[in-house]
Amino acid sequence: MSEAVKVVDDVAFEELLANPYPVFKRVRDLGPVVKVEAANIMMVTRFDDIMAIERDPETFSSINPQSLLNTVIGPNLMRKDGDDHARERVAMDPSLRPGVVKRCWADSMRAICDDVISQIEHKGEAELFEELAAPIAARALADILGFDGVDWQTMALWSQSLIDGSGNYSHNPEIARKAREAASGVESAVDRMLPHHRDNPNPSMLSSMLQADPAQTVEQIYANIKVAIGGGLNETRDSILTLILGLLQNPDQFARVRAEPSLWGQAFEEAVRWISPIGMYPRRLTRDVEISGTLVRKGEQVGLCVGAANHDDRRFSDPEKFDVFREKKSHLAFGAGSHFCAGTWVSRALVSQIAVPMVFERLHNLRLKDPELVRVRGWVFRGPTHMPVVWDA
């Protein structure tokens, strides 16, 4: 006998935004699929269930032409499956492979981090979201896309406006207007840059898309560049801050990482498991199916809560603790299946090999200005939003 989907109706939306992990735990223990009224979605929260779902894209489809994401940015690879998805993914991959990151992007990423840190180094204090992580993430992204001359504030505004527009379920006209403005801003930037990249093949994403076989249409380029902007900035930004936060709160672990730099990679994986920048993404059912015994109907949408799966105590002991030295196990911060994060290797290199080590190297005796002032927020997207620090200048 299959079970019906249980419902949680006494959680306020604000609770999810402030700290989703207690809600995730309750939902995870209640059942494999639970409808959370405040978020208006059926949540899948257990690690093994999500992994199994991501191995079955025919049942759990990403295709959703009616989604707000498609309305805001056009038909894009995040909402496609199979060959349609693969063709567009292959068109951007040559810019994002780990070896390409190392050979083609590492030097410019290092220069960006150096420049951003140089601007604050003498001050002895800073708010790291605005003065460090956002500019680094935005500038590195502009570089990889092949967007010359777009400043980081514009990148950040476009990114946030596209994200807000894709989540604008209440149809707020102002949010919709900003998203349209961002979309046309991105399209003009693409138009402006395409001739250059057509004449000068290079490792940037615009250039890769132009060189792809089959060639990408301008509509595909517009849409997938918008995906890269909406989905490639905040994750890097947030994981830079999360890794710094985890290490500042755990000086003993920091001491070990500092003494053994090969541990930076491991520290980064733990940071994105601990506070996953993307906490949830949707899949739509193409048939009636049981998820670990709970029946979900064809056409319904489920939210794969990877943030919850990364705190699943069936898999991770003391999941709420930041522990670089926990037993090694794979996590779901980059998702799984064919939509596995395309920017994984860029973020690993930028955050764990370049940005955060350089921060600790240059800002001596770095510490939180006041632990009470640190703000971490969000559930679909989650990360530190305010992080004042001081150091010995």
């Binding site: 991501e54 191995r55 993914r89 991959d93 070896g99 299946g337 064919s338 596995f340 994984t344």
Partner: protein, 105 residues
């Protein structure tokens, strides 16, 4: 049906009947061979399905794509001359009885 001999990192052998046309990664997952995580489920994006094949077979399998080649340099266990992403290798009669080693991560 060819037999594939998966050798896990601790030396345990899993001799399994494989279906032609399936990938080595799918075959390993279906038989719960430890060490094949395959996060991206065969999209050549995660490098967590790294295996080491006998060198003679490498020649028979033909050239590795540029993408896989790049990815293999970043797999957790160091690359060897027989390294492949198991999701990019299809089972065929040519692979009958080969041993496929899962390197220690």
């Amino acid at each position: 049906m060819p037999t594939i001999r998966f050798l896990s990192a601790d030396g345990t052998e899993f001799a399994v009947e494989a279906q032609n046309g399936r990938t080595l990664m799918e075959t390993a997952l279906e038989n719960s061979v430890p060490g094949i995580i395959a996060e991206c489920n065969g999209s050549a994006a995660c490098a967590t399905c790294h295996v080491v094949l006998p060198e003679e077979i490498m020649l028979a399998l033909g050239p590795i794509s540029e993408h896989e080649n790049d990815m293999l340099d970043f797999a957790e266990a160091p690359r060897e001359s027989g390294s492949r992403l198991s999701c990019q290798v299809k089972v065929s009669d040519a692979l009958d009885n080969i041993s496929v080693r899962v390197p220690a991560a």
